[in-house]
């Protein structure tokens, strides 16, 4: 079948997709976007998290056919010409990345949390990231990274308000 969808702002069309393929497979193997990871392929680990119409989902659990004419944002779409998103930068600086296999999913999930909640408490961070497994870090530095990113995003917003611009909202 043919899938037509929007990924990271660009219209994408892929042919010969087998009906049993997941969104994760199509992204990784047919669209050249392997950033979303295939750690469990059963919705338990969160490594494949992407935005589907603005909602974070496990792309391994989404059938490819379900994404026709919808909007997908993957980890590859979070940074822009200005550079890394503050969540990505904070993950590097805080040592929240070791092997990095869980990182793309965690970055997307944390990005979503901070778009919804300006100053999440630790329990809120833990609850939001509870669906993302990490085997290397013990999570402590991931918490550090989310706290740091929250502070920086808040500072950015404040600076934008002072400068009278709308700024980056997420």
């Amino acid at each position: 079948m043919r899938i037509t969808t929007t990924v990271n702002g660009a219209r994408r069309e892929v042919d010969d997709v087998w009906e049993g393929e997941s969104l994760l497979y199509v992204l990784r193997e047919r669209m050249g976007l392997p950033g979303s990871k295939n750690a469990c392929e059963q919705g338990e680990c969160g490594s494949c998290t992407v935005y589907l119409d603005g909602i974070p989902v496990c792309s391994c659990l989404v059938a490819a056919g379900q994404v026709c004419d919808r909007e997908i944002v993957t980890v590859e779409g979070l940074s822009d010409q200005q550079g890394l998103h503050p969540v990505q930068q904070a993950f590097i600086e805080c040592g929240a990345v070791q092997c990095g296999f869980c990182t793309p999913g965690l970055v997307v999930t944390a990005h979503d949390l901070l778009a919804r909640t300006e100053h999440p408490t630790d329990p809120e961070i833990r609850e939001a990231l509870a669906g993302n497994l990490c085997r290397c870090t013990g999570y402590e530095k991931i918490l550090d990274a989310v706290r740091l990113a929250a502070d920086r995003l808040a500072a950015d917003r404040l600076a934008d308000i002072r400068a009278g611009s709308s700024g980056r909202l997420t």
Partner: protein, 770 residues
Amino acid sequence: MTSTPTKVPAAPSDTASLRGRIGDSPLRPDGTLKVQGEFAFGSDLWADEMIWGVTLRSPHVHARIVSIDVGPALATSGVYAVLTAEDVPGGNVGLEHADQPVLATGVVRYHGEPVALVAADHPEIARQAAKKIRVVYEELPAVTDGRRALEPDAPQVHGSGNLLRHLKIRRGDPDPVAPLVVSLDFEVGMQDQAFLGPESGLAVPDDAGGIDLYVATQWLHADQRQICQALGLPPEKVRLTLAGVGGAFGGREDLSIHVHACLLALRTGKPIKMVYNREESFFGHVHRHPASLRYEFGAGHDGLLHYAKAELLFDGGAYASSTAAVVGNGGTLGLGPYNIPNVQVDSYGVYTNNPPCGAMRGFGCVQAAFAHEALMDELADRLAMSRVAIRQLNGMREGDRNITGQLIDSAAPVAELLQLVQDMPLPAERLSEDEFDLLSLPGGVSNTTHGEGVVRGIGYAVTYKNVGFSEGFDDYSTARVRLEITADEPTVTVHTAAAEVGQGLITVEQQICRTELGVQRVVVHPRDTQVGSAGSTSASRQTYVTGGAVKAACEAVRAKVLERASTMLDIEPSELVLDGARIVSITGAVVASLQDVLGTDAVDETVKWSHRPTYPVDPETGQGDAHVQYAFSAHRAVVDVDTELGLVKVVALDTAQDVGKAINPDAVVGQIQGGSAQGMGLALMEEIIVTGGRVLNPSFTDYLIPTILDMPPMRIKVLEYADPHAPYGVRGVGEPPTISSGPAVAAAIRQATGKALRRVPIRPEHITEG
């Protein structure tokens, strides 16, 4: 090289502004790629004309293969090849003993053993075709219990006896007595490494019968040796490059897709990609050995240990993997970091028809620590002593000899580590029932308690672990370091085959080069077999051994540069110093620039470096200098236990560890946090359930690892007592936290509940029953 250098007056060191030397915590060079999803893991690789390989595995625990019909599979549209044991040109593989066929040959010995391979142009077509392979099996009697395996009439796994290794340690009085005797039996379940990045790689055939394999692994050269053995090819025809590794923890020390992908690539002439899904990953690598432990300690009324007797039985499963070395560790280190004058230890590894077990972080010490630490608590309670004090009283100190008679010739701060964790602030008392936070309670948002039935407990544990390979193993690493001027800037390239698995070794290599050569720009060459072996990324050894090799290669480069400068300047090399981009005389005057000395040349040195030797232990007494170095850590766990439902919330998990020298302090803390989580996981939730040899829970739905809700905040104290025998004084870091964290959690649950709890993981029913 020919320009005449100008002498300029002494100036401040050129290297003062260097960032990212040892002791700093520079950011990892692959971080930016990883947070953007652009880092290429093994499963992300792609090549033109690439097709997919899959494995057909045994549904039986022990069976004779009567026949295999590949016809229907091969006839499937999109299928390029179907291979069985008949298609394997070479011999068996194995880390320590080559006892494992690449594909089952005549018999399958465990549930999940690879039987056949399929290559097709879509992974799902390959999987469907694999199901069409008709294998006729005749089931054989199986042995799936470690003790049963040693009985004379037990089914034979390999026909040569089921005993893989028996290590005896005998020290002191053979018939010791003591006023106070405590004993216990302990069982440890089978833990999985559960790295997130599944086994994966890409094999690309060349047109001369050779192959390039890009693979996520822990030891490229051990892989290469085994692949050559299996394919009947010389090493120059089998070239390996490390693909991005999504965690390892021991589970990538043995081969997985390696030979299979190469066989399919050589047969089809096409690049073959193989990626396990999570279910196959549970079958596709070795696990931590389940262990059955019998311990007895004798002590005086003063609490001093008089003797210890221990029997450790490690179930190695169907193939040897690294069981013999695990038995060695369990035996030589399995009584913990205590002074015990009279010792009788018997450590056994056996073959069974269970899944093969091998390396996992902590390697033989993890299982034993649950037993010796439970027994130390028991002893303390019987004597009405503090559980910390009894450990401090018996704890090793520098200058002591351990149970194999080896001198502990660097820091052994057992008492201090325990004191540090004991003195850390305790977490706040549980909130009262009207202001509780569900997330902080056992059961969490399942809303199973608001505090009723919840009791708190505190537990302590301490451990020591060998660093590096032991018992006489030729344990070396190789490093190639190149210094040149590129774009007017001194540039170092460091090339080793040491697997970066997430721990941060590439950052450490950069830090060492900067420190030794005073050069800011250090490029890390891809890891491959074009340079000599670095040994395994395991046994907490790479910062020590590959770090040592990189340091030595930098020293060789520096010597060569100064030799060249000496010739050019007619000054003795001993009177010259390399200071970043300048050559300085011992009086401090700048006598030449590095550019003057090197011109367009590069200085390129390769060094093979070994740590001081270890020795096999005596076969009758187990005495000998078996290990290179010891690393010590202690944990304190605080838990809340819902005694009605058996649910546990770890409230705090605090630790102190001696790391000798923290080359990268932030990365050290990261290792301690992650390692502690894995130990806690074994204590509470992680077990591959094997019944009659069959794996019942090969998924992340049914095999649980700690989430961010399970991990408590940690207080961490890092000591740096330099080991004078090691480069920069480093001590391995990665494993001790996985060893002492679990027993501390188990001890805390015992203290909270008053239950004996002689098995891990501790399940709810163990807490609620009886």
